[in-house]
């Protein structure tokens, strides 16, 4: 018998993590004078928007440049599956800026690879950092590491990490699901 689907983070834990990540960002980015925040579509934007909002509250500067970036056209699995693009909304140039790239789960690293490519269409950044909520260790296909990590987990490739957000699923939480549970649509 397989174990029941595990909730690895609930709403309270998630909020604490977001607060911590914000403070870590402030530590290195000071007043965000030359920094911008970019959330990766489709699922990274929810985390990124919250972090952007919290940073605004903590620093007193709600005008830190923020954008949503879709990486579909830069993916390497084009034609392997049908990919539907999402909206990119970046109304600033990232030339010489410090970019904080934000996604929910870091798994194979391929999405981030595509994200780095996609980002370059908006200029040459001075520095790029990666922030993720969940880092799935030992599963990388490309050499990419996050600088800010919400939680690191060890999981096997057949498992799936699912991040639910209030905006889409009605509740904030993070699940670790087995292959069968994913197929059965549990959680």
């Amino acid at each position: 018998m397989s174990p029941s689907p595990r909730i690895i983070l609930d709403e309270k834990q998630l909020n604490i993590i977001i607060q911590r990540l914000c403070r870590q960002l402030i530590e290195t980015h000071d007043h965000f004078k030359d920094s911008v925040i970019i959330g990766l579509q489709p699922r990274g934007v929810f985390l990124a928007r919250r972090i952007h909002y919290q940073l605004g509250k903590i620093t007193g500067n709600p005008n830190i440049p923020y954008g949503d970036l879709d990486v579909t056209f830069y993916r390497d699995d084009f034609r392997k599956k049908d990919l539907v693009p999402n909206k990119t909304n970046i109304d600033f140039i990232i030339e010489d800026r410090n970019v904080v790239l934000i996604d929910d789960v870091l798994f194979t690293g391929r999405t981030i690879r595509a994200g780095l490519d996609a980002m370059m269409a908006f200029g040459r950044p001075a520095d790029v950092e990666l922030l993720v909520l969940i880092d799935r260790r030992y599963s990388r296909n490309v050499p990419i590491q996050a600088k800010y990590i919400g939680q690191t987990i060890d999981s096997v490739a057949s498992e799936k990490v699912k991040v639910d957000w209030k905006e889409t699923e009605g509740q904030d939480r993070v699940w670790l699901l087995t292959n069968e549970e994913t197929k059965a649509g549990i959680a």
Binding site: D70, T72, F73, Y74, F78, R79, K80, K81, D82, L83, V84, P85, N86, K87, T88, N89, I93, D117, A118, M120, A121, F122, G123
Partner: protein
């Protein structure tokens, strides 16, 4: 929906509403891409596309070529003049020779109706119809409807008048199919001699009085008189045609509303439309051209990316 129902784009007739909406939503994304500092994405970097133009074209050909290049595809261009077509090579032989050079997609314009369909049955490549005789010109209809959607918010429920040489126009036929699928009301307007016989079977309103058509519509799509396809005289003179069916400022001023003016190009200024109207704020002719690139990128992307399983 995540992929098109069809493997080729031969005509609007083969598309369903969901296909058209998928093309539009994808085009929204590409419209954002072509307004970036770097207007190019690497999606089709391993695809080679042949543009085969057996008939003259400026806009469509440039638009397709630009769309292909913005998607990072490799592009080869072919025009019938100066090719072996003149020496008597058949269409299938020409295309198969090109495909032997490992081409993945073919964009073709041809003077014969059904040429794209014919090709799709006989060669192993994805075919995009860029106009086949007086039959269909699907990407033009898509970009026209997309431009209406952009300007008026939606297409459903809008009244669109297609005015001019309906008989020789592939734009008219594709537009009628596309607009009807999207829920718009369509009227065609022009002299009786330039109305095709089949028009009664298409559930469109037919009008011969330009002023009445203008008073009815939200959007007027002005078509060019296709002199090159007219083997006989369909009207006494261009001057007379222009007097009866030419759109000028006086006619627009006589309306109690502001209508959107479209034209697929090339414009015969002073014949079907005056310069004053073509360059006015009501005209979205240049938006159509810009949207054409986004729509063609969407079509090529969706066809090339279509997983076959």
């Amino acid at each position: 929906m995540t992929k098109l129902r069809t493997r080729h784009l031969l005509g609007i007739k083969d598309l369903c509403l969901e296909d058209i909406e998928l093309i539009f939503s994808t085009a929204d994304n590409f419209k954002e891409v072509i307004n970036r500092p770097i207007k190019k994405v690497p999606s089709l970097r391993d695809i080679t596309i042949a543009n085969l133009f057996f008939e003259n074209s400026t806009r469509t050909r440039l638009s397709f070529e630009l769309a292909e290049k913005r998607l990072s595809a490799d592009v080869i261009n072919f025009s019938a003049s100066g090719s072996s077509v003149k020496k008597g090579e058949t269409l299938i032989d020409t295309v198969n020779n090109i495909l032997a050079m490992k081409v993945d997609m073919v964009v073709m314009r041809h003077a014969n109706p059904g040429a794209a369909l014919f090709l799709s049955k006989h060669v192993n490549a994805k075919i995009v119809n860029a106009g086949d005789g007086a039959h269909e010109h699907p990407t033009q209809a898509l970009l026209d409807a997309y431009s209406i959607r952009e300007k008026l918010g939606k297409v459903a429920g809008k009244k669109v008048a297609i005015i001019g040489d309906i008989l020789h126009s592939r734009v008219a036929l594709s537009n009628i199919f596309c607009l009807q699928k999207l829920g718009a009301e369509v009227m065609v307007c022009g002299p009786r001699t330039l109305m095709p016989k089949y028009i009664s079977g298409l559930q469109v309103k037919v009008e011969h009085d330009l002023q009445k058509a203008l008073a009815w519509c939200d959007v007027a799509n002005m078509l060019r008189i296709q002199m090159e396809r007219q083997d006989i005289k369909y009207f006494p003179s261009l001057r007379e045609y222009s007097m009866q069916y030419g759109l000028d400022k006086q006619r627009l001023d006589a309306l109690d509303k502001e209508i959107v003016i479209m034209h697929p190009g090339p414009i015969n200024r002073g014949v079907e439309i005056t310069s004053e109207v073509a360059d006015s704020a009501q005209s979205i002719i240049l938006d159509q051209v810009e949207n054409g690139v986004a729509i063609r990128m969407a079509v090529l992307y969706l066809l090339a990316g279509r997983s076959e399983n």
